[in-house]
């Protein structure tokens, strides 16, 4: 790369981006699980009735 600082920033960005993308991925999975739990609770509630 023409400017060595570009390489440095690119590498740092990749690491930060990777961490944040994974955190978002975990967050989304958690939301899916929470939604599933809500649905299951509702189904159980209906089932009990």
């Amino acid at each position: 790369m023409a400017n060595p600082w570009t390489a440095l920033y690119l590498a740092y960005s990749i690491v930060w981006l990777g961490v944040f993308v994974y955190l978002i991925y975990i967050h989304m999975r958690q939301r899916v699980v929470e939604r599933d739990i809500r649905t299951l609770k509702e189904e159980l509630h209906k089932h009990a009735k």
Partner: protein, 373 residues
């Protein structure tokens, strides 16, 4: 404090540590003066190999040597060879009056060229300031044999004529990319944390096989997923450094790179295996065995650059047993980076395990509801 708040606090601390790592890497850790290659013994590992330095001549002096009958008149040229790839930086620095900075991509090499006389070889065009030259020479490390100065390297040219390049380590820096070397402060902790993740997988896989507690399987799986994440980050950031330092993104003949790539593939296989098996007990048992067997790739990757030059690797060794060492500031920065990444890993692992456990419970609940119906 509920779980979500604890995680938020842990994450905030982790990210603050990461930001502090960036600050230390950018503003506290100094630019290395000595070449990474010199420091990590790459030149020794490449001993006997040819390298070519193409560049332009500067400060050329020529003098006639005593002539020998029936031989072309011998001449000795002495010059500094600047590498082409460094020309832009050189000219910029020259304009800014900063030519004394000791961190050229390729530091100028002092070259002595003998032409004519008994050594043979003609130089048809005169060598002047600005003349383009290409020096191909073998790397020789006499210090490695004499046990005197392991950092002393010579370039000994082959072929017609005689080109000798001799410098001490302080001046002999073949390819130094000091700015890009700061990538190391994120690259190495990423690799370390991936090894840690795979070690956690090993331990909890073994614990699962012994006790058959589903929690251990969840931890092993979560750690492997995080290990793959950080191994990916190490595999992506490393080639950016390699491009600056070596001139290429990847070298398939480098044991460190190849073994780390194999390690990554093995754990990608672990994740794929888990995705392929739906029955929870079988999945846990098979992946626990895989997690234990797969760990053999970790020492392979970890130790591959340490047993160079027995196995060829140009990958730097961070904590070397001999020769080369980090400056105290660089050592502190990398130490801090390792702590920050480890803290981040633990934080993410806690969250990942929590989510994975919830997922397992939901799946089990779904199965039992489906079974009842």
């Amino acid at each position: 404090m509920d779980r979500k708040r604890i995680f938020a606090v842990l994450l905030a601390v982790s990210l603050a540590l990461m930001l502090l790592t960036v600050y230390l890497a950018m503003f506290y850790a100094p630019l290395p003066v000595m070449s990474v290659k010199t420091a990590d013994g790459l030149l020794t590992s490449l001993e006997g190999e040819d390298i070519t330095v193409a560049g332009f001549a500067w400060n050329v002096t020529a003098r006639m040597l005593p002539s020998i009958p029936e031989a072309p008149p011998p001449q000795l040229f002495t010059l500094l060879l600047f590498d082409f790839s460094d020309f832009e930086r050189y000219s910029n620095a020259a304009q800014a009056g900063e030519l004394d900075q000791p961190w050229w991509t390729v530091q100028p090499l002092l070259v002595h060229i003998k032409a004519g006389g008994q050594v043979g070889g003609y130089i048809t065009d005169p060598i002047m300031n600005g003349t383009n030259l290409s020096v191909t020479a073998k790397i020789w490390a006499p210090g490695a044999y004499l046990d005197e100065n392991p950092d002393q390297y010579l370039l000994v040219a082959r072929g017609a004529g005689s080109v000798e390049v001799a410098e001490s380590s302080s001046a002999f820096s073949l390819v130094t990319a000091p700015v890009a070397q700061k990538i190391f402060y994120f690259h190495m902790p990423s690799a370390w944390v991936s090894y840690l993740g795979f070690f956690v997988t090993l331990v909890f896989s073994a614990m699962y096989l012994k006790s058959r507690k589903p929690k251990f399987d969840v931890i092993a799986y979560s750690a492997a997923e995080l290990g793959v994440l950080f191994a990916t980050l190490a595999l992506l950031s490393g080639p950016i450094w390699a491009k600056e330092e070596w001139g290429v993104y990847w070298r398939w003949n480098d044991t460190k790179l190849v073994t780390t790539f194999i390690l990554w593939l093995v754990y990608i296989g672990y994740l794929m295996l888990r995705a392929a098996i739906t029955e929870p007990t079988t999945r846990a048992r098979v992946s626990a065995v895989y997690g234990i067997l797969g760990f053999v790739t970790v020492p392979m990757s970890l130790l591959s650059s340490r047993i160079a030059p027995l196995l060829q690797s140009g990958h730097p060794v961070v904590i070397a047993t001999k020769g080369g060492s980090l400056s105290p500031e660089a050592g502190m920065t990398i130490g801090f980076a390792v702590i920050a990444f480890t803290f981040l890993f633990i934080t993410m692992l806690i969250k990942r395990v929590e989510v994975a456990e919830c997922e397992e419970n939901v799946e089990e609940l779904k199965r039992s509801i489906g079974g009842e119906e």
